[in-house]
């Protein structure tokens, strides 16, 4: 008997994912039919029936859209709770690395959230046109999302059923910390260069967003997420934990650090999702939402300020840096 599968949170999580999948399957079948037969110029009763069915698809996706965000938070929370059962694990990092599926699953979940946000943008614009101009765009996007979600459900089950509770896993300090002198940072950066890059990229993201260089913005924002991840793990995280050797993206999600990780990662990812979705719909559909840009600036600034505040508060209290 696999003890992981009896954990209450995991049962609830797998059940929720499966229920959503059944709904999406219905939506997918209907959506394919609509997509193939769709002809907005036609005045046949069949076309009107299709238009009504399109409402079912969008209602289901909107519901899934909201639930998936809740479920990702719940997933991370359950992973964290599992660390008690696995020998050696002290936070979610060890549990995610308990088998090969874990890291792929996490990346896949984050990508699906992004695609859903993008779908939401296209849907929003589509509903405001009189002739459902972007209906085919959003349906093809949904088909892509569905393929990812099939993959995700498969990974969900293979990940949780293959966690061996007797095999010791590495704790976060072994995964991120002691690398025996090897430099874990990308492009051979040092920590000080990483920080310079972090703040420069942040400024570039805001500038390119405000000045409307969409392509440049997309590139810099992707790079910013990449650099911000390393900056949080290898520099800002150590101030959250107030320990120079503690390098981990997961421990800050625990109660000891007032769950600050959820706020930190959520502001970074939500900002990026919204920004990229808006940018892509600008390039693809020629539609821009000025309100989104402000939200992105707010969220990313919150993220940068929060990171900086931890360092500043530490310095003001102790008079030294770590």
């Amino acid at each position: 008997m696999n003890e992981v599968l009896l954990s209450n949170q995991i049962i609830v999580f797998l059940l929720s994912e499966s229920t959503l999948f059944i709904l999406l399957l219905v939506a997918f079948v209907v959506s394919l039919k609509v997509l193939v037969k769709w002809d907005f110029e036609s005045f046949m009763p069949f076309q009107f029936a299709l238009e009504r069915q399109a409402y079912l698809v969008s209602t289901i996706i909107l519901f899934v859209f909201v639930m998936k965000f809740i479920l990702v938070v719940y997933f991370i929370f359950s992973i964290d709770a599992l660390s008690l059962l696995l020998p050696g694990a002290m936070c979610g990092a060890g549990v995610i690395k308990a088998n090969v599926y874990g890291s792929y699953l996490l990346v896949l979940k984050l990508s699906i959230l992004f695609l859903l946000t993008l779908w939401f943008y296209i849907h929003y614009y589509d509903m405001r046109t009189k002739n459902h101009q972007w209906f085919k765009h959003k349906s093809w996007l949904f088909s892509l999302i569905f393929v990812f979600i099939v993959l995700e459900l498969g990974l969900d089950f293979s990940y949780f059923s293959n966690i061996d509770t007797h095999l010791p896993v590495s704790c976060c300090s072994a995964l991120f910390g002691q690398l025996e002198g090897a430099n874990p940072l990308p492009f051979g950066l040092s920590v000080s260069l990483l920080l310079v890059l972090f703040y420069l990229l942040y400024i570039l993201v805001i500038l390119s967003l405000k000045s409307g260089y969409t392509l440049l913005y997309i590139l810099t924002n992707i790079l910013f997420v990449y650099i911000a991840y390393y900056a949080v793990v290898y520099f800002f995280g150590t101030y959250v934990y107030q320990l120079p050797t503690h390098k981990c993206p997961f421990c800050m999600l625990q109660a000891e650090y007032a769950y600050v990780g959820y706020l930190l990662w959520a502001s970074l990812f939500m900002g990026t999702y919204i920004g990229l979705s808006d940018a892509i719909s600008t390039l693809w559909l020629g539609k821009t939402d000025p309100k989104s840009k402000n939200i992105v600036v707010w969220l990313l600034s919150l993220f940068v300020l929060l990171c900086t505040a931890y360092v500043a508060v530490y310095y003001l209290r102790n008079g030294v840096l770590l």
């Binding site: 009896l6 209450n8 609830v12 059940l15 229920t19 008690l84 059962l85």
Partner: protein
């Protein structure tokens, strides 16, 4: 559409159709009540066990031969004291004392009252006890359950133990153990170590096990290896192992319940689907009217969804609230026995109120998600009603 007008219309509609919604809310609240009670009890017990575990000694060393525990030689204590980083090495003598006729048992715990204890609560208890009076003659401290049981069998002040040698040992009851420790101490008798040895049949050089603390938790894994290398027949258990096995036990109980609960949930979902399909088909006329008045499909969808959400939240709050009262105020009569097991001494335990994010979200997800999923298709079906069609 004006948001205020929308909400006003929604409340009017909900109130007008209250008999339709009331039955769904009552059934949902009942199902939620059952689910929440079980999860509340399970999380509360887990919390209490963790609190109890926090004050327990970090390591327990005992002698195991062929998988069976045998008395541990007292000489091992000296070997443990010599290891750097180990503190509070304490020998313990304990065991179960059976009333053969009644198939009941007490847990006898022998304590060396003159030494410092590795169990923090015991340490506090001893600090409060008048040791001089306690050690004067054979005396013991007993748990709540033991006290009630002995009172009922006319052993008001003392009890006559039968030792393995066949002699009687009369021990006076000194005091009752504090009420908060009931989950573990309910059937406990605490007495001086030599007396416990006599009653349980240990020789002078033997103990049940030896406990010690290692203040630096980073050294625990290394210490486990080091201590188990001392002797071939030595078994060492640390607090993390115990915590893990507790976690597994309660996951098992709660998990099994949840899996069985899925049957109820899927039936419930099917019933909801059926019922809403029926209810909404009778509402087609209303929807047709709204559409004729100029509502778009999206407006109707939004309206019906908000109605569903109100029902979901109302039943969620009701169900969780009643479960809270049932478990933490009334003490979960009947359901408690499933989790605690009432075979031995009657336990009078109150649940410590624990409400954490994880339990509340779990309840919400396992209930609201299937509910909305079941209602979604009927809602859509009625929302796309053509005004002309409905009027026919």
């Amino acid at each position: 559409m004006n948001a205020n007008a929308f909400w006003h219309f929604l409340t009017l509609q909900l109130f007008k159709e209250r008999s339709k919604h009331l039955s769904v809310i009552v059934i949902s609240a009942m199902i939620l009540f059952l689910l929440s009670s079980v999860l509340f009890i399970s999380s509360s017990i887990r919390f209490s066990l963790e609190e109890t575990l926090k004050v327990q000694p970090d390591f327990v060393v005992s002698r195991v031969q062929g998988g069976i525990s045998v008395p541990t030689p007292m000489i091992w204590e000296d070997e443990l004291i010599d290891i750097y980083g180990v503190s509070n090495v304490i020998q313990r003598v304990y065991g179960r004392y059976f009333f053969k006729a009644k198939e009941r048992s007490f847990l006898i715990v022998g304590v060396d009252f003159l030494e410092e204890q590795s169990h923090e609560n015991l340490q506090k208890l001893i600090a409060k006890t008048d040791i001089k009076a306690f050690l004067n003659g054979s005396k013991m401290l007993v748990g709540e359950g033991v006290k009630t049981y002995l009172d009922a069998h006319f052993y008001k002040d003392d009890y006559n133990f039968l030792t393995p040698e066949g002699t009687f040992e009369k021990v006076n009851i000194f005091k009752t153990l504090p009420f908060q420790s009931n989950l573990i101490a309910n059937d406990m008798m605490v007495m001086p170590i030599d007396l416990a040895r006599k009653i349980l049949g240990y020789s002078e050089e033997e103990v049940s096990d030896i406990t010690f603390n290692v203040p630096n938790p980073d050294e625990w894994d290394m210490m486990t290896d080091k201590v188990s290398a001392l002797h071939y027949d030595l078994q060492v258990v640390n607090k993390k192992d115990v915590q893990k096995s507790y976690e597994n036990l309660y996951n098992y109980k709660g998990g099994l319940f949840l899996i069985l609960f899925l049957v109820v949930l899927s039936t419930f979902t099917l019933i909801l689907y059926q019922r809403y399909s029926m209810v909404y088909s009778s509402e087609r006329r209303n929807i047709g009217l709204l559409r004729a008045l100029g509502w778009s499909i999206n407006d109707v969808l939004k309206f019906k969804f908000t109605e569903t959400l109100v029902i979901v939240f109302a039943s969620y709050i009701l169900g969780v609230f009643f479960a809270y009262v049932y478990v933490f105020v009334l003490g979960a009569p009947l359901l408690k026995e499933v989790f605690l097991g009432g075979q031995n001494l009657q336990n009078t335990l109150t649940f410590v109120p624990v409400l954490d994010f994880s339990v509340l979200t779990s309840i919400f997800l396992i209930y609201a998600l299937p509910f909305i999923a079941a209602v979604l298709i009927p809602v859509w079906r009625v929302s796309v009603t053509e005004p002309k069609e409905a009027m026919l």
